[in-house]
């Protein structure tokens, strides 16, 4: 692997992490998923590509490459799902709170 490849890889990984932590946008999430889908389809239709890429970046076999990509995709999906859950929790809390305040009772 050349230095340029190394630097590009690091850049992509760092921007990915930064994106996850700070700049999330639903639109970009979908683009990322589409790209991953495109990768998936490519690997199925042209399986030899996986070995070629794997050799270039120094990963064992094409299968290993797919494995790593799968892990990264899963982590990404899990984080997006978790964020959605947290958001829903916030909404539920808001609703429950407004209802509680609206229907407050006094002892009788």
């Amino acid at each position: 692997m050349t230095i340029v490849q190394g630097i590009l890889l690091v850049l992509i990984i760092v921007s990915f992490i930064l994106y996850l932590a700070k700049f999330r946008k639903g639109f970009i999430d979908k683009i990322i998923l589409l790209m991953l889908l495109a990768c998936g389809i490519t690997f199925i239709v042209v399986p030899d590509i996986t070995s070629a890429i794997a050799n270039k970046i120094g990963v064992g076999r094409g299968v290993d490459l797919i494995f790593y990509l799968f892990i990264m995709t899963s982590v990404f999906l899990l984080i997006t799902l978790y964020s959605k859950i947290k958001f829903l929790e916030k909404e539920l809390t808001s609703l429950t709170r407004e209802l509680a305040k609206e229907f407050a009772k006094k002892s009788e």
Binding site: A21, I79, Y82, S83, K86, E89, K90, L92, T93, T96, R97, L99, A100, K101, F103, A104, K105, K106, S107, E108
Partner: protein
């Protein structure tokens, strides 16, 4: 300050007799009492209506957690023009005397934002805290310091009195038990003026059984770490 300026918020989950006892103990003070019923199986309002006590009662239709209940009660108090909001446990662990003690601190210092209770400012109070709890709290204190930069003597005390002007800067978003740490975070972030006062917490068999286990601190730690990564 007038009696009607003070609102005592009591989050309650499945507390019946104890809640009534606690409210009766507080009623002599003459302040407003707000019970926030966090979706108890048997609604708190039924216990309240069957007893001879006066208070407000709000009910969460789903169970959100103690932090959320406190925030709901606090917002309700503010809606009713409260000047001081007290956070007080339903199970009889908190001392009634501490409320006036805390309120007097506000009379002395008008820039004070929040008074927090501590079990460890005084040897006698400290010794009444069960050993295992003491150890967990000492560790919690250090972890709180790591996360918030504030080293208080008591990391996890639910007793606090907040002045109305500070409340917009103390919005609780952590619904469950990590509100204590969230309060510290907000105090630090918004540079609020705070002091700790010594309070004596009464541990009874009932409250110990119902209270948090040491393991819950792991839950809280987990929540804190996750919140740092995924705000």
């Amino acid at each position: 300050m007038k009696k009607s300026d003070v609102y005592i918020i009591i989050p309650s989950y499945n507390e019946g007799e104890e809640l009534i006892k606690t409210i009766k103990g507080l009623s002599a003070l003459g302040y407003n009492i707000v019970v926030v019923d966090d979706c108890s199986t048997f609604p708190a309002i039924d216990f309240i209506n069957n007893s001879d006590i006066k208070c407000h009662c709000l009910r969460h239709l789903i169970n959100l957690g103690q932090g959320a209940a406190l925030q709901t009660g606090t917002e309700y108090a503010l809606k009713n023009k409260a000047k001081y909001v007290v956070h007080f446990d339903a199970d009889g662990q908190h001392p009634v005397e501490a409320i006036d003690q805390a309120l007097s601190k506000f009379e002395v210092d008008e820039n004070l934002d929040i008074v927090m209770g501590s079990r460890f400012l005084n040897a006698e109070h400290t010794s009444s805290v069960p050993k295992k709890r003491r150890f967990v709290l000492k560790v919690a204190r250090l972890i709180n310091y790591l996360f918030t930069g504030l080293l208080l003597t008591d990391a996890h005390n639910g007793f606090r009195v907040i002045s109305a002007k500070a409340i917009p800067k103390l919005v609780l978003t952590q619904n469950r038990m990590s509100h204590a740490t969230e309060v510290l975070n907000l105090v630090k972030k918004n540079k609020l003026n705070f002091i700790e006062i010594p309070i004596h917490v009464t541990y009874t068999d009932y409250s110990m059984e119902k209270g948090q286990s040491a393991f819950n601190s792991i839950n809280i730690l987990f929540e804190l770490i996750i919140k740092k990564i995924i705000p």
